[in-house]
């Protein structure tokens, strides 16, 4: 590739943390000869993994070229720094790429360098000693042979998850190595399943690595193995790849998965599937060229920009919650109280006990319910034990930590009491008054309310400054978001304690103002409300439910309604209607569904329950799918702008972070505001976009 293109690329990645390719001669055992051992090392510890930007690629290129010039070596081996092999392309410069030519140049540079590892005069060995992702995996794939450490914690091709394809050889080499089915598991299935990773043992079992060794002396044993391969004492035999029907079937299955999950909303996964589909018939040159084109297209795509923004949200912004007070103000939490013994209370008790390792006492007025609540937690601990997630000692400890009490006296030495009782203001106020009577004046009183006012809840207390909203999302063990709500009188110490506890619970905490239904429920209720409104106006429920499919959400609006529960959804919409009658309607039809005692929308065969359908039915003015999508998006754009103006959260980025971590909204929409900007709805509704330039997570 031309020098000017390389220079341009380097200029774009000005702040690249360069991964050096350090070459050193090693004497292989058994008299096999001299090998060049290349160590990939960016000079930082494992918290800053090796990545490849243009300068790093050129350094690797120089190392390979130096080896190519030698006639006295028998092999080249590549390994990583301690705990890390390499985790892929440096994406820091992607934002700066201005045109497709530059994007194409980056893709080509990667290929030009990596492919030399597969085209040297001596065999090459990738010694995958630690985490390997994306371009790191591709370095290994280009090598003639691979060994993997059984201690490798993460090995993945996350490109499709972010909005790219594994386009430095991944989509061509991997299926030709292990077959399309297994390759697509890594290229498509895992990225689309919360970006799942595999471990070293699986890398070997799947046939990606030719040998596996324990971490204690992984490189030494790998080099012994390499020496035997060089000498011909070991012949690597790989099962032949089925390039016939099995390939077709795997590709068709992947197409089906991608379509089912994304409905065409994000281009990258589909592009990756098509590259795999063709990989069996293409030459290396053709395969790599096709990858270059795909990378160039995708690097310029708004979905990638949204994906990288979303990645930064969950990786960076989530770790430094905007508006959180200094953590030195936080109080120590040595015992937790949970008011209530229902399902939510039980989930909370388990989470607190597991993550904080402190006693958790649940209270309920009814002995039977209390016993059931504690028994639920103990049963969950037994499940963890059975799955091997905890050992017997830890299970004993957890069970010992979670107890029940009929009276709130048991809270007297608790520093943090959270209520998860019936969603009614008077009930919650009374509960807090009772708790306040027994706890110290500094103990935090937290509420898991989904829509009630924190300020009002605290109003009758002697110490309202210790009350804080602590809103989890169901299922608690799955959804990372925790909306932390500051009431009018909440003080910094209480808030700091809440954030510190959230961090220990491994939750993504976002600070919200005490506004009706906070962030996620407000927006989901609005969004669902538009869909329900179109139904009551006369649209077929199936049509309305399908209308927002182009967003590629994890579930359709009616499926979400079923998960939340029609009664809860109705309740939240009533709260919001009370607060903002002009923007939030209460669906009379939904009221009918609740009144009829229906708690499921769909029949077990995933068709809409005919009775529910009858209850939802309304007028005679049906809308088209695009019309419904448009009104739903417009409603979102308008509401988010109002929320930002009201100061419900600090920035649009927090809205997106909430939707991604609390509702599972996708990376390719960047939550939602980058998407609203992209399709022009923000501009149309609010007269300006949410993000002036590319969306910024920080």
């Amino acid at each position: 590739m031309s020098n000017s293109a390389i220079d341009q690329a380097r200029e774009l990645f000005r702040d690249e943390v360069v991964t050096k390719a350090l070459s050193r001669d090693v004497e292989l055992p058994y008299g096999a000869g001299t090998a060049v051992l290349i160590t990939l090392d960016n000079g930082h510890d494992h918290t800053r993994p090796n990545t490849f930007g243009p300068a790093g690629l050129l350094d690797l290129d120089a190392a390979i070229e130096a080896a190519r010039a030698r006639t006295d070596i028998v092999a080249v081996a590549v390994t990583g720094k301690p705990f890390i092999f390499a985790v892929g392309a440096d994406l820091s410069g992607v934002d700066a790429i201005q045109n497709r030519e530059q994007a194409l140049a980056i893709g080509k540079l990667g290929h030009d360098v990596f492919r030399k590892l597969g085209e040297l005069h001596v065999p090459t060995f990738a010694l995958v000693n630690g985490a390997a992702m994306g371009g790191g995996v591709e370095v290994a794939l280009h090598c003639t042979y691979r060994t993997v450490s059984s201690g490798v914690p993460a090995f993945s091709l996350p490109e499709a998850f972010l909005g790219l394809v594994p386009g430095w050889g991944g989509t061509y080499l991997l299926p030709n190595l292990i077959g399309a089915e297994k390759a697509l598991k890594l290229i498509i299935d895992n990225p689309l399943a919360q970006n799942k990773v595999i471990k070293g043992t699986q890398v070997f079992e799947m046939g990606i690595a030719d040998a596996i060794f324990e971490p204690a002396d992984f490189v030494e044993e790998s080099l012994r193995w390499a020496a035997k391969v060089v000498k011909g004492d070991i012949t690597v035999e790989r099962p032949e790849v089925d390039k016939g029907e099995a390939w077709d079937n795997a590709v068709n299955m992947a197409r089906f998965t991608v379509e089912g999950k994304l409905h065409g909303a994000a281009p990258a996964p589909a592009r990756a599937v098509e590259l795999v589909a063709e990989a069996r018939n293409r030459t290396r040159d053709e395969g790599f060229a096709a990858e270059d084109e795909a990378l160039a297209d995708l690097i310029m795509s708004p979905e990638l920009k949204a994906g990288l923004y979303a990645f930064d949200l969950v990786q960076k912004r989530a770790k430094r919650p905007a508006g959180a007070p200094d953590k030195s103000l936080a109080r120590k939490v040595t015992k937790v109280g949970v008011v209530g013994a229902g399902l939510m209370a039980g989930q909370l008790a388990l989470l607190f006990a597991r993550r904080l390792d402190v006693p958790v006492v649940m209270t309920d007025l009814d002995q039977e319910r209390l016993d059931k609540g504690v028994a639920y937690v103990h049963g969950e601990v037994d499940k963890l034990l059975k799955k091997g997630r905890v050992n017997q000692d830890k299970a004993n400890r957890l069970k010992g930590l979670v107890t029940g009490s009929l009276t709130k006296d048991a809270f007297s030495d608790a520093d943090f009491v959270i209520e998860a009782v019936f969603e009614k203001m008077e009930v919650k106020q009374q509960v807090f008054a009772e708790v306040e009577a027994v706890v110290s004046p500094e103990a935090i009183l937290a509420t898991n309310t989904s829509s009630l006012s924190i300020t009002e809840m605290a109003s009758g207390l002697k110490h309202p400054e210790r009350v804080v909203g602590f809103h989890f999302f169901n299922p608690v063990a799955v959804l990372p978001l925790l909306e932390i709500i500051r009431g009018e009188k909440t003080d910094d110490a209480a808030l700091a304690t809440a954030f510190t506890v959230a961090k220990k619970l491994k939750k993504t905490a976002v600070l919200c103002k005490d506004a009706p239904a906070f962030v996620v429920n407000r927006l989901l209720t609005l969004f669902m409300g538009e869909v329900l409104a179109s139904v009551s106006e006369g649209t077929e429920p199936e049509t309305a439910d399908r209308a927002v499919a182009p967003l590629g959400l994890p579930m359709s609006p009616l499926m979400l309604l079923q998960l939340v529960g029609p009664a809860v959804a109705l309740h939240v919409s009533e709260t919001l209607h009370e607060a903002f009658p002009e923007r939030f309607a209460v669906s009379a039809e939904l009221g009918e569904v609740v009144k009829a005692g229906k708690n499921a929308i769909f029949a077990p065969d995933f068709t809409i329950d005919p009775e529910v359908k009858e209850l939802l039915k309304g007028g005679d003015k049906p809308s088209t799918e695009p019309e419904i999508l448009d009104r739903a998006l417009r409603a979102l754009a308008r509401e988010i702008r109002i929320m930002l103006d009201e100061g419900v959260v600090a920035e649009a980025a927090d809205i997106d972070l909430c939707l991604i971590t609390g509702a599972g909204w996708p990376f390719h929409t960047g939550g939602i505001t980058p998407y609203l900007d992209k399709v022009g709805v923000s501009e149309a509704v609010n007269g300006k976009p949410f993000h002036e330039d590319a969306p910024k997570a920080l």
């Binding site: 350090l22 070459s23 050193r24 001669d25 090693v26 004497e27 055992p29 051992l37 290349i38 160590t39 090392d41 000079g43 390994t79 301690p82 324990e214 204690a216 002396d217 490189v219 030494e220 080099l223």
Partner: protein, 399 residues
């Protein structure tokens, strides 16, 4: 019930290549990782030994802090992936650490408390210079319990020249030249390599490398080169970096077993532990320690030096070897003594060296079925010596 002592055999030994301390091979490699590699190699070379049958892991280190601390025998056992049921401990007798690990753990086998043990030693003198963190009791000096020179090993070597005025610098240098020559020849003949296990070495600047052979040897060393070296411990003295072992990093390990257990598991029994002895001398002439230790041992066994066919003596200093030879009336170039050279060329990572002597003796025994007995002996800081008497299991003379 009367107790019967059991025979103890040396099954196998392995060691890392020795490195030069400071900027050498292992400058950025941890000491415990060296031990781990040795233990894993021993297990790999002896697949008949089920790991859960190991009753003890005794690892010596002189400076037991940092990566040589944390009860190194136990922590290395865990890091090496031995079952958690296998115990371990740390041991220290300065230079004779590994030698003492063998005698102590071996004695436990003879006593019947163990069937199989791993014994070895490590010293990363780069990461842990001699004397790191020590706090000598002031009484040593105020009450003149030891001479002020006793704590500096080089000074004790100079003192030994005073005690044996016949051992000149030239004799010491000549001995050192022979040690280098013998090591070079042994390497060329492939005698040393079988005991080595290659070790991955880290360098932040150069990337990973592989240590495959000893770094300290200086083949081609001659009298002229040695004559020009400085005598850092005494002006116009006798002890130079050329006629002494250097500062080194390395680890060694051995498997010992009850002879009956070795037979049961089909393990090699390369030599038999016959007896051992330790003795103290004035700390300021610590190098003479092997003399009383060996005398004591031979007397107990009713043997003389003429019964000993092979002598592996640690070469902390040439003068200390020569003092031993002079005492026993052995020629400076006697073929029985360190046939493959010694620590002056190979290096002396303090607490690891004892097992190196043993693994070399065991290999020499295999080549010499005519020899029945051999010793491994070392001088020890603070004025001691230790000697172990071994019987060649390949001995054919009795047939």
């Amino acid at each position: 019930m009367p107790r019967t002592a059991r025979d103890v055999v040396f099954v196998d030994g392995a060691r890392t290549p020795f490195g030069k301390s400071g900027k050498g091979l292992y400058a950025e490699t941890r000491a415990d990782d060296l031990v781990v590699r040795v233990i894993r190699e021993l297990m790999r070379r002896n697949p008949g030994l089920p790991p859960e049958r190991i009753d003890e892991v005794a690892i010596a280190a002189t400076t037991q802090i940092g990566d040589q601390g944390l009860t190194i025998g136990r922590s290395a056992a865990i890091l090496a992936g031995l079952p958690k049921s296998v115990p371990g401990y740390a041991i220290d007798r300065m230079c004779a650490g590994a030698l003492t690990a063998v005698t102590t753990a071996g004695a436990g086998i003879a006593f019947g408390a163990y069937d199989v043990v791993i014994a070895g030693g490590v010293e990363h003198m780069g990461r842990h210079p001699m004397g790191e963190g020590v706090d000598p009791n002031p009484r040593f000096l105020t009450e003149k319990l030891v001479d002020p020179s006793a704590l500096v090993m080089g000074n004790t070597a100079e003192n030994l020249h005073d005690r044996y005025p016949g051992i000149t610098k030239e004799r010491a240098d000549a001995y050192a030249v022979r040690s280098q020559e013998k090591v070079a020849k042994a390497y060329a003949d492939g005698k040393i390599q079988p005991d080595l296990v290659e070790v991955l070495v880290r360098s932040a600047e150069q990337g990973y490398g592989l240590a495959t052979k000893d770094e300290p040897p200086r083949p081609g060393t001659d009298m002229k080169t040695l004559a020009g070296l400085k005598t850092p411990f005494r002006a116009h003295g006798n002890v130079t970096p050329g006629n002494a072992a250097g500062l080194n990093d390395g680890a060694t390990g051995a498997i010992l077993a009850a002879e009956e257990t070795a037979a049961e598991l089909g393990l090699d029994a390369r030599m038999r532990l016959v007896d051992f002895s330790f003795a103290g001398v004035e700390p300021e002439v610590m190098g003479v320690g092997p003399v009383p230790a060996t005398e004591k041992l031979l007397a107990r066994q009713g043997m003389g030096m003429d019964n000993i066919g092979l002598i592996e003596i640690n070469e902390a200093f040439a003068v200390q070897v020569l003092a031993f030879l002079e005492h026993f009336g052995i020629a400076d170039d006697d073929a029985r003594v360190n046939p493959w050279g010694g620590a002056i060329a190979l290096g002396h990572p303090l607490a690891s060296s004892g097992v190196r002597l043993m693994m070399q003796l065991a290999r020499q025994f295999a080549e010499r079925p005519d020899v029945r007995y051999g010793i491994t002996t070392m001088c020890v800081g603070m004025g001691m010596g230790g000697t172990v008497l071994w019987e060649n299991t390949n001995y054919e003379g009795g047939k």
